[in-house]
């Protein structure tokens, strides 16, 4: 089964994302900041990561850079999901190795379209 790690400091967002992802038949795990996410990734790598940008302790972009530097850390498909919606942030995310980018607010349609685009699900 494919797995997706949901990283967001908002419990509400994690719940919404979890519901959508489970409907898409992903096994989900959750972390409330980059540090927690990194620890989970050190234990085992998920297929995908849905990643917020601004979080306490460790931000999404810091997590992404650390993940990509890990052995095997190039494998997980990382999709940002953030309120940051300017070109500079998207550019920075691409450079850090993000596969796709969702600008909040999002819904299941956008999430599914993005996951289909990066080949995580069939259409």
């Amino acid at each position: 089964m494919k797995s997706c790690l949901i990283v967001d400091d908002s419990k509400v967002i994690r719940m919404v994302a979890k519901k959508i992802l489970q409907e898409m038949r992903f096994e989900t795990e959750e972390a409330e900041d980059g540090k927690g996410a990194l620890e989970l990734c050190q234990a085992h790598l998920p297929t995908a990561v849905l990643l917020d940008w601004n979080m306490p302790v460790m931000s999404g972009i810091e997590f992404l850079r650390a993940l990509r530097a890990m052995p095997g850390g190039d494998k997980p498909v990382v999709v940002f999901c953030t309120t940051e919606n300017d070109i500079e942030h998207i550019q920075e995310a691409i450079e850090a190795g993000a596969n796709e980018y969702i600008m909040k607010p999002f819904d299941s349609e956008i999430l599914q379209a993005k996951f289909a685009q990066v080949g995580l699900i069939d259409e």
Binding site: D86, I87, A93, I94, Y101, F106, I110, K114, Q117, E123
Partner: protein, 281 residues
């Protein structure tokens, strides 16, 4: 709405745009016409019907526009665009090598996502298309939606549906809450107001036709009439793309499916092997 009035509007729609509206869609008609009535300073649907029955052409156009479904998104369904890039484009580059030009038509282009997706795709492949002249023509019956297409301005929601982020940062600029397409991409597409039920011949001949998610609104005779007319302005080896819920089978004998390529059709009069849709073999 009175049954007579419903019949009147549904006949008007069928004649003017091909749209088939069954009785169970009466609620849709009411909900789309109410705002129109208000915009015109009319009290309600009865007043609107009275004005309409005086055969006010401008009002008829507005009614047709109000009833069209304009939903569209960038790289809709992905696969047709992948297929265009990996099969049709290489075939075009070979088959049109002598004149170095080809023409693409997005029939029923709505707010422009389809022709702009093709324009971006071709821009990404520009290394292979040096010195080529490529026409992309987008047509639609709705003037209002064409204005939006020409503006090249999309909401955050619209640019997220289907557009890879790499293309978003490359070809769009943010303006307030919206995203505006690069003038260089915009200039690759020419827009024209056109009713698919009318005379298509003024458009010239095409090598690739996208006619997606519009035939579904028509009845069978209208579908076949439109498909036959489209076939007449296609080059012998040209290809036609239909939407996911559309087919030529049982509708028009002018086309045949390209084997193994869902949603893509070649002309029956052409020879299958040399169709632009045939996998290079």
């Amino acid at each position: 709405m009175k049954p007579d009035d419903f019949d009147y509007v549904s006949r008007l729609l069928r004649e003017r745009s091909g749209l088939v509206l069954t009785r169970d869609k009466a609620y849709l008609l009411e909900s789309r016409l109410m705002p129109l009535a208000r915009k015109r300073g009319l009290k309600g649907l009865d007043d609107l019907m009275m004005a309409l029955k005086k055969r006010d052409a401008a009002l008829e156009t507005l009614v047709v526009e109000a009833m069209t479904t304009n939903e569209s998104f960038f790289f809709r369904d992905n696969k047709p665009f992948d297929q265009f890039k990996s099969i049709v484009l290489p075939n075009l580059i070979k088959a049109r090598a002598a004149r170095k030009s080809f023409r693409i038509w997005s029939a029923a282009c709505s707010s422009g996502q389809e022709p702009y997706s093709l324009a971006m795709l071709l821009r990404e492949e520009s290394a292979r298309l040096n010195g080529w002249k490529i026409d992309i023509v987008g047509t639609d019956i709705s003037r209002e939606i064409l204005d939006k297409a020409r503006s090249g301005t999309y909401s955050q929601f619209e640019v997220q549906r289907g557009m890879p982020m790499a293309l978003l940062v490359k070809y769009f600029k943010k303006k307030d809450e919206n995203w505006v397409i690069d003038p260089a991409i915009k200039s690759m597409v020419q827009y024209k107001e056109l009713n698919l039920l009318g005379d298509l011949r003024g458009l010239g001949q095409f090598d690739v036709v996208f006619c997606r998610n519009v035939l579904i609104y028509f009845d069978q005779p209208t579908k076949s009439k439109v498909l036959n007319a489209i076939s007449q302005i296609m080059a012998d080896d040209a290809v036609l793309y239909l939407g996911g819920a559309e087919t030529v089978l049982g509708v028009s004998d002018k086309f045949k499916p390209v084997p193994g390529q869902r949603g893509i059709y070649a002309l029956a009069r052409g020879d299958g092997a040399s169709s632009l849709g045939a996998p290079p073999g």
